[in-house]
Symmetry: C2
């Protein structure tokens, strides 16, 4: 094989990073600055993600400004009031801090920018455009973990309002809004598992062989 | 900080894996078997991805059966005829092999399974459901690279037909259809860059600070 060959020991490093990666709900963040060089390594990782037709259809807004982040937080609060109604039978919902918008040093809004001309690979499944941005999110997330930085994804937001606050072009789609910061602790298990909100699913229940109809 | 601390040397391993990960268009694949233990490590990585509300809304179909893969390949051929019309001004399109459906040992179809009850974090942005599946794709893709296995994402497919072929439940959404195999070569640069189809975009053109309106 031509090209970089990875050894078992290197594979194990990735396994460790994946194993210990966490979704930060919000309460473990520290407001310690993330150095510019470190942040640039996270952005580098995001930009190395695969994308449909190598279209690189992403644009990121890096937000440190507190007044902008307070506007986003207001947006979260309004949307979360609606969510509280939806979960009114689950009192646990109100006890969870679900974002770290202002108690982190950096937020990143990740947008999908549609192309004005056809993209190879996107002609039958248009959604592979925004999906490419998600691949960039995960590259960034893993690199953040390797830098011992926690990441939370805030999705309890109104996309239109976020676009207005950030003056995003009308054709852009908000894919992800991330909060990044060093943390007090990377928990042993997912925080929503610890909180007894959801349980891990078994691999057997999620994997099928050959088709949904086949039992092996 | 409590929890696993990653050292600079470990971060560099991830950087290498991200740097040398490639999207396989199809011609570099070898039809050498992927051992079950190796494939299980890729599935493990996918299942450790973050998901909205820890909902783990994914289902994977692992396909080795050649007759099923030939049906998928027929589906690709039909969709690719339409794509060739769209790119009729770019003769290069016809020269690219864009899939490794039958010249790999394993395909994986990754579906989003919507929940019948509300999911934490998904109440304002429903698309975070399928987006979670994309995060699983990228975890799998990086682990595959660490195993020196190439991955291609075939998106020139009709979702309805693929669901029929795999007998997928009607509510499931096809997110990704992956081809996996060992390769002759991991190229130094993205294959669509080498083919002069697309060029890498500059970081400066993709990153904004504070908002789209701010110049720093």
């Amino acid at each position: 094989m031509k090209g970089r060959y990875f050894e078992e020991q290197e594979r194990q490093v990735l396994e460790q990073i994946i194993r210990h990666r966490r979704t930060e709900l919000g309460k473990n963040f520290l407001n310690r600055e993330i150095p510019e060089t470190v942040l640039n390594r996270l952005i580098w990782a995001a930009l190395k993600a695969p994308s449909v037709g190598f279209s690189q259809p992403w644009e990121f807004v890096i937000i440190r400004d507190v007044s902008i982040r307070e506007k986003i937080k207001n947006c979260f609060e309004a949307e979360n009031e609606k969510a509280k109604q939806i979960f009114k039978d689950k009192p646990l919902y109100n006890q969870l801090k679900l974002e770290g918008i202002t108690n982190t040093p950096v937020n990143i809004a990740m947008f999908y920018k549609p192309s004005s001309s056809p993209i190879l690979g996107q002609t039958s499944m248009e959604k592979t455009g925004p999906y490419s941005v998600c691949l960039a999110v995960q590259n960034l997330w893993l690199m953040a973990r390797a830098e011992n930085i926690g990441v939370g994804w805030v999705s309890i937001l109104d996309e239109k309002q976020v676009k207005q606050i950030l003056h995003a072009p009308s054709e852009n789609e908000l894919v992800a809004y991330l909060c990044l910061g060093y943390v007090k602790e990377f928990t042993e298990r997912p925080q929503l598992e610890i909180a007894n909100w959801e349980r891990p699913k078994s691999q057997e229940s999620l994997i099928h062989y050959e088709s949904y109809n086949t039992t092996l």
